[in-house]
C-alpha cells in the first residue's frame, strides 16, 4: 500500500481531465463566437474574406503534419527506435516554430493594415467587425500561447528521450505532451474554418 507502482492509466486520466478544462476554456470563446456570428453573420463573412486562406491552410497542414510526427514518435518509442523518435519530435518542434513564424507575419500584416484590437479603424467600422477581429486575435493569440507551451513540453520530452528517461516501457511524459500537442491541433481544426473559411 505504501510503495505505489506508477499507474499509467491514472496519469493519463489526469491528463485527459486537464484537456477537458482546456476544451472548456476555448469553449467560452466559442460561445462568444457562436452568439456574435448569429447576430452579425454578414459582417463576419465579409471580415473573414480579409484573412489569408493560403496562410491559414498552410498552418493547418503544418499542424496536422506535426501532429502526425508526434503520434509517430510515440510509436517509435514503443518500438524502441530511439533515434527516429528524436527525429520525429524534432520535426514536430520545427513545424511548431514554423507555425508561429507564419502567425507572426500574418498578424504583422493585419497590424500594418490598421486592424488590431482597439485600433481606430476597427472602432469606427460597422458593428460586428471589431467583434470578429477581437475574437480572431483572442482565440489565435490564446492558441499561440498554447503552441508555445506545447513546444516547451515537447522539448522536455526530447531531452528525456536523449537522456533515456523516456523509453519503451515508460513514456508518460511524451504521451502527455503529445496529447497536449494534439489538442492544440484539434482547436486549430475548428479555428481554421470558423475564421478563414466563412465565405
Amino acid at each position: 500500500m505504501n510503495s505505489r507502482t506508477p499507474d499509467k492509466a491514472g496519469v493519463k486520466l489526469g491528463m485527459w481531465l486537464f484537456l477537458y478544462t482546456e476544451i472548456m476554456l476555448f469553449g467560452g470563446l466559442f460561445i462568444l463566437y457562436a452568439v456574435y456570428y448569429s447576430k452579425y453573420t454578414g459582417v463576419f463573412i465579409e471580415a473573414g474574406k480579409s484573412l489569408d486562406i493560403t496562410i491559414g491552410a498552410l498552418n493547418t497542414v503544418i499542424l496536422l503534419v506535426s501532429s502526425f510526427t508526434v503520434a509517430s514518435a510515440i510509436t517509435a518509442v514503443q518500438k524502441k527506435a530511439q533515434r527516429s523518435a528524436i527525429t520525429l519530435v524534432g520535426i514536430s518542434m520545427v513545424f511548431g516554430v514554423l507555425f508561429l513564424v507564419n502567425k507572426y507575419f500574418e498578424w504583422g500584416h493585419k497590424f500594418e493594415a490598421g486592424i488590431y484590437p482597439g485600433s481606430p479603424d476597427l472602432s469606427d467600422a460597422e458593428a460586428g467587425k471589431s467583434l470578429f477581429f477581437g475574437l480572431y486575435y483572442l482565440i489565435t493569440g490564446l492558441h499561440g500561447i498554447h503552441i508555445i507551451i506545447g513546444l516547451i513540453l515537447l522539448s522536455i520530452s526530447l531531452y528525456f528521450i536523449t537522456t533515456k528517461r523516456i523509453h519503451a516501457t515508460r513514456f508518460a511524459v511524451l504521451e502527455n505532451s503529445g496529447l497536449y500537442w494534439h489538442l492544440v491541433d484539434l482547436i486549430w481544426v475548428f479555428i481554421f474554418p470558423l475564421f478563414y473559411l466563412i465565405l
Binding site: M24, Y40, L131
Partner: protein, 543 residues
C-alpha cells in the same frame, strides 16, 4: 496500534525538518492542515469586512465609511468569501484530509500537484491583496459586471487575476480528486460502498473541472478588455453586455453547487453517525447529488431575469430552477428521516448539522421565491437576495463547515474540545444568524436594494437589528474558534473512533499515521452499517 506515529510527528519526506516539513510536504493531511490555516485566516478577514459593512448600515447616512470605501469593502468581502473561503473551504481542507482515507488510499493521486494547488491558492490570495494597492481597491462587486468593471479605474485587473489563479487552484484540486477516486479506491470498495462525503466531492470535482475554465476565460476577457480595449462587450461596437453575464453565471451558478454539495456530503456523514443508524436512502442521496451537479449547471440565467434577457429564456431557466429544487428537497427529507427510530446522541457536530438543515431549508425555500419569474422581478438585487444566499452559503455551506470542524477535529488532531463552549458558540452563532439575516429578507421584500451604503429612512429599523445580530454571530464564531484552538492544548486525547462512525477514517488512529492505515482496511458492503458499533457498545457495557 499504540506505537504508531501520527502524521503530525513524521513528515512525509523524512529528511525535512521544522517549517520546511510543512511547506514542502506532499502528505495530503498536512496539505489539508495548511489549507485550514490559510482558509481560516481569510475567513476571519472576510467576517471582519462583513461586520464593518453591517456596522456602517446600522444607522442611516454615513457613519463609518463613505461610498467608495463601502464599495471596496463589499467587493472584497464577496471575493474573499467566495473564492478564498467557501469554494475551497470544505473540499480543500476536509476533502484533502479525508478523501484518501475514506477510500482506503495512502494519499491523493498527484501529491505534488496537490501542494502546487495550495501554493496557487496562497498566490491568488497575495494577488488579491496586491489589487488593493494598485489603483485603489476594487469596487465592482464580486460579479465584475461589464461595462462598469471595464471602465472603473480601481485595481480590478489584479482582483480578476487573483480570481483566475484561485480558479486554477480549485480546478487542479478537482482533477486530483477525480483521478484519486477512480484510480486509488481500494479494490474491495465499489461505487455503492463509497461514503457519501466522497460521493459529494466526486460530483463537486466534475463541476469544478467543467465550469471553472469558463470563469477563467471570462476573467481573462475582462483583463483583455481593460488592457487592449477590444470592445467585445461594448454596445457601441456591436457587443452585448448581457452576454458577459451569461458567461459569468455559467461558472458562478455551478459554483454555488461547488460550495453546497460538499456541505451536503458532510451532513450526510454526520446524521447517520449520531443517529447510530443507516442513512435513509443511500442511493437516493447519491443520485440526487449527481442530479444537482448536472441540473445545477443548467440554470445559470436565473440570475438574469431582469437583465433584459428574452422572455423565452426566463421561462426555460425558471422551470429548470424548480427542477433543481427537487433533489435538494429529497436530501433534506432523507436526513430528517435518518433520525427516525435512531438512537440519537446530541453532540456539537450534530447540533451544527441540525442548524444546517433548518437554515439551509430557509435558504432553499426563499430560493423558490427567487426562482419564480414574477416574484423574482421584485426581489432581485435587493436585500432579499442577500439574505437568501447567506442562508444557503453561510447557513448551509458555512454551518456544514463548522459541523465538519467539530466532527473531524478529534480525528485531525487527536484532541477533543470543550463541548459546553462549543454549544454556547453554536447557539450564539445560530441566534445571531437568524437575527442578522431575517431582517434582510424583510428589507428586501420592502424594496431595499443591495450594495447600498446608504438607504431610505424607512429601512433603518431592519438594518439596525441586522447589525445587532451580526455582532452576536461574530461573537459566537470567535468563541467557537477559540474553543477549538484551546482544545488542541487542553483537550482530552481522542480515541480512534470517538463518535462511533463506520467509514474508514474512523478505523485508523487519531491523528492518523503517516501512511493512513496500519492494517489493510476492511470495507463494509454497506458504508453505514452500524451493527458492529452497536455490538461493541453492548459488549463494553457488560464488561
Amino acid at each position: 496500534m499504540t506505537d504508531v506515529q501520527s502524521y503530525l510527528e513524521t513528515p512525509s519526506s523524512p529528511n525535512l525538518k521544522g517549517i520546511r516539513a510543512w511547506l514542502l510536504t506532499t502528505d495530503h493531511k498536512r496539505i489539508g492542515i495548511l489549507y485550514m490555516i490559510s482558509i481560516l485566516f481569510w475567513f476571519c478577514i472576510a467576517v471582519t469586512l462583513g461586520l464593518l459593512l453591517r456596522t456602517e448600515l446600522m444607522a442611516e447616512g454615513k457613519t463609518l465609511m463613505g461610498s467608495e470605501t463601502y464599495n471596496a469593502v463589499f467587493t472584497l468581502h464577496g471575493v474573499i468569501m467566495v473564492f478564498l473561503f467557501i469554494i475551497p473551504g470544505i473540499p480543500a481542507i476536509f476533502g484533502n484530509f479525508l478523501l484518501p482515507i475514506q477510500i482506503g488510499s495512502d494519499d491523493v493521486f498527484f501529491p505534488r500537484l496537490n501542494l502546487l494547488s495550495w501554493y496557487l491558492y496562497i498566490f491568488g490570495g497575495i494577488l488579491a491583496v496586491v489589487s488593493l494597492f494598485s489603483g485603489g481597491p476594487p469596487d465592482t462587486g464580486w460579479t465584475f459586471y461589464v461595462p462598469f468593471s471595464i471602465q472603473t479605474e480601481s485595481g480590478v485587473t489584479f482582483t480578476v487575476l487573483a480570481a483566475f489563479i484561485l480558479g486554477m487552484s480549485s480546478m487542479l484540486t478537482g482533477i486530483n480528486f477525480i483521478t484519486t477516486i477512480h484510480r486509488l479506491r481500494i479494490k474491495t470498495m465499489g461505487w455503492m460502498q463509497m461514503p457519501l462525503f466522497t460521493w459529494s466531492l466526486y460530483a463537486t470535482a466534475w463541476v469544478q473541472l467543467l465550469a471553472t475554465p469558463i470563469l477563467s476565460i471570462t476573467l481573462l476577457l475582462i483583463v483583455a478588455e481593460r488592457i487592449f480595449g477590444i470592445g467585445l462587450f461594448d454596445p457601441g461596437r456591436g457587443g452585448d453586455p448581457i452576454l458577459y453575464q451569461h458567461l459569468f453565471w455559467m461558472y458562478s451558478h455551478p459554483a454555488v453547487y461547488i460550495m453546497i454539495l460538499p456541505a451536503m456530503g458532510v451532513v450526510s456523514e454526520i446524521m447517520p453517525v449520531f443517529s447510530r443508524k443507516a442513512i435513509f436512502g443511500y442511493k437516493a442521496i447519491v443520485s440526487s447529488t449527481l442530479a444537482i451537479a448536472i441540473a445545477g449547471s443548467l440554470v445559470w440565467a436565473h440570475h438574469m431575469f431582469t437583465s433584459g434577457m428574452s422572455d423565452t429564456a426566463v421561462f426555460v431557466f425558471s422551470l429548470l430552477t424548480f427542477v433543481v429544487a427537487i433533489p435538494s428537497a429529497i436530501k433534506v427529507f432523507s436526513w430528517v428521516s435518518t433520525m427516525y427510530k435512531g438512537s440519537i446522541l446530541m453532540t456539537p457536530p450534530l447540533f451544527f448539522a441540525l442548524c444546517f438543515i433548518y437554515l439551509f431549508s430557509v435558504g432553499g425555500l426563499t430560493g423558490l421565491v427567487l426562482g419564480a419569474a414574477g416574484t423574482n422581478i421584485h426581489v432581485h438585487d435587493t436585500h432579499f437576495v442577500v439574505g437568501h444566499f447567506h442562508f444557503v452559503m453561510f447557513g448551509g455551506a458555512g454551518f456544514a463547515f463548522f459541523a465538519a470542524l467539530h466532527f473531524w477535529w478529534p480525528k485531525m488532531f487527536g484532541r477533543m474540545y470543550n463541548f459546553r463552549n462549543a454549544y454556547r458558540a453554536a447557539i450564539l452563532i445560530t441566534i445571531g444568524f437568524i437575527l442578522h439575516y431575517i431582517p434582510m429578507l424583510i428589507l428586501g421584500l420592502q424594496g431595499m436594494p443591495r450594495r447600498y451604503y446608504n438607504y431610505l429612512p424607512r429601512f433603518e429599523a431592519g438594518n439596525f437589528f441586522a447589525g445587532i445580530g451580526g455582532f452576536i454571530m461574530v461573537t459566537g464564531i470567535m468563541l467557537m474558534l477559540v474553543n477549538l484552538v484551546q482544545g488542541l492544548r487542553k483537550g482530552a486525547p481522542a480515541v480512534g473512533n470517538p463518535w462511533g462512525g463506520t467509514t474508514l477514517e474512523w478505523s485508523v488512529p487519531s491523528p492518523p499515521p503517516l501512511h493512513n492505515f496500519v492494517d489493510q482496511p476492511s470495507v463494509k458492503s454497506y458504508p453505514y452499517d452500524f451493527t458492529d458499533i452497536i455490538q461493541q457498545q453492548a459488549g463494553s457495557k457488560q464488561v
